[in-house]
Symmetry: C2
Subunit: 346 residues, 2 copies
């Protein structure tokens, strides 16, 4: 006989060696379950791929749904990540629900309520590209067995949450080395939020490259703030006030770099003749600007695709090799970098 037994909650309970009510509690996120029991049940849930009737119903129409949450869509960065997710979702026949938290951060719901809603609405996974979800939220999802993947988190996520990022440190080092090779010695860094992991990594890559060449790291050349273009324009203004102006700027995002470029134009400073400029992200904006921007390209679409791929793997109960994936960045040299004006080759 050996017939495939129907996958009910009761079957999961038997498999896990607990009672049906206990499995029910785990699925519904009750907290009157011991950590051990919960873990045991979650393992079986993942392995068997059990779906509640609600979730099964969703599958009658053939598709599962993943929710993706952004702080904001007002950046080429966010849109390209989203495009990657959508592309892979279309290929895998997955629905995508989009949520943008905006400034208010959807703060009316507690982590528990939010997680419960996500389940109630039949979501099979979450991709998070926002700082609005803290450890408490991520934990709430985790406890209910909803796969979560965080993209380039501002803060390091709790240990067991999967995150996708890029080789920020290496990228920062490549950008800076490129400028050093061109002969620059006074190189400024205009970066994002101090607290952001990715900014820290880029900054330290920058410092590592300088130190490797014996170039001192100067505080006056390091300006942090946020990843948007106003910050680039303001940073540029500040740098131009310095007694010893830098001859090159490494901007930690393309948006920042475009702000620098706009301010340079206003002040009649030519790029790259008077000032070299490297961005980070490699969005289409870097290609389309004039001069086209030398930039550390992140595979943004691929990040989105990878995030969804890991969600699907977790849904299938596969064990991931690693909780953290870093995709490689690649320096693309375009028109915004050149040797410094008074540089003597040799």
């Amino acid at each position: 006989m050996e017939q495939q037994e129907k996958l009910t909650l009761a079957a999961v309970a038997r498999e896990a060696g607990v009672s049906a009510p206990t499995v029910s509690k785990v699925i519904n996120g009750r907290d009157d379950v011991s950590a051990d029991t919960r873990a045991k049940v979650l393992t079986v849930l993942a392995r068997t791929g059990y779906k509640s009737p609600l979730q099964q119903r969703r599958n009658v129409s053939g598709r599962q749904a993943v929710e993706i949450v952004f702080d904001s869509l007002n950046s080429a960065y966010a849109v390209e990540v989203l495009n990657g997710v959508l592309e892979y979702a279309a290929e895998s026949d997955i629905e995508v629900l989009l949520n943008v938290t905006g400034k208010q951060g959807a703060s009316t719901l507690t982590a528990e309520q939010r997680a419960q809603r996500i389940i109630d609405e039949g979501r099979c996974g979450m991709i998070v590209v926002t700082s609005a979800f803290g450890a408490a939220h991520l934990d709430a999802f985790h406890r209910r067995g909803i796969p979560v993947v965080v993209i380039d988190p501002l803060n390091p996520p709790p240990g067991d949450v999967v995150s996708v990022g890029t080789t920020n440190w290496a990228g920062g080092k490549d950008a800076t080395s490129h400028l050093l090779e061109l002969g620059h010695r006074r190189i400024a860094y205009i970066g994002g939020p101090d607290a952001a992991e990715c900014n820290q990594a880029r900054l330290h890559g920058y410092m590592a490259a300088l130190r490797a060449e014996g170039v001192p790291v100067e505080d006056q050349y390091i300006i942090s703030g946020h990843f948007r273009s106003e910050h680039g324009a303001n940073g540029m203004k500040a740098l131009l006030q310095l007694e010893q102006r830098p001859t090159a700027i490494f901007a930690a995002s393309d948006s920042i770099a475009l702000g620098v470029l706009a301010e340079a134009r206003r002040q009649k400073i030519r790029v790259p003749e008077d000032m070299s400029l490297v961005g980070f992200d490699g969005t289409y904006q870097a290609e389309e600007s004039v001069p086209a921007l030398t930039s550390v390209t992140q595979p943004l679409q691929e990040m989105g695709r990878a995030a969804l791929r890991f969600i699907l793997r977790q849904m299938r109960g596969e064990v991931l090799d690693s909780r953290r994936v870093e995709l490689v960045t690649r320096l693309v040299v375009r028109e915004s970098t050149a040797p410094p004006r008074d540089y003597q080759r040799g």
Copy 2:
């Protein structure tokens, strides 16, 4: 007592004077129910607003779902419309499902299949910002009673589909009049697809403004293509080949205008000193470019909001005053327009 009885299938059965299994059959579309009985049950279902647990679940978490479909998200235009929809959706506690058809146009499904899926998945309405849905698709939704709103359709939608657009003709006229008032007489138009309604309207607004001033419309100054920046760059190249170069360009989208601007920079043509330039859309790109772009601003977020508002009204069964809504455009003068170089005021 008169306590509100819980609305179960059994309650509906009692109300309708039939058994629970019979109601179950009606709900599940079985055909072993007499027409009379079915009608009786359907009446009670409608009056009481009974929802199956699946549907209740959706509503316990409070929310209905609307699907929005784009050709592509690779334009500031699309992203701003989307932001408007998301904003209003958050305020109205509606879920948003996002679909980007991409180049393949999701062509594997027929209109019927697509409509059926949309229903099966519990969607309450559709917002369409794409040319991938023809009259057949729109019709299929309509026949099933799913509200559809089309944003700025390339082709006029079937008579009973609601569409949201802007005053393209007036916008085209305003842009051109602005250039005429500055003293320009040789004004070129770089536009989108010939077939697109919104392009037609902008072009005719341009022509109307010229004619009102007695300026002849010259074919060599009218270039159509698509709304992206490469087209602007190519159009600019072509115009610079002309014996009688124009002194001003009206670009039918900001993306086109940015392409023009990039090409101008490459060819060392100064904007606005050597060439005036007006865009259309008024996205943040117009503000951030250097020089900042004079542009006909469309209330893109408001278009998104309006689209969702009309969906919700239709869902509530309200009768709309009009199947077509046009929001007003507004010319915002920035730095990319000036009198022609050899213009003598007087």
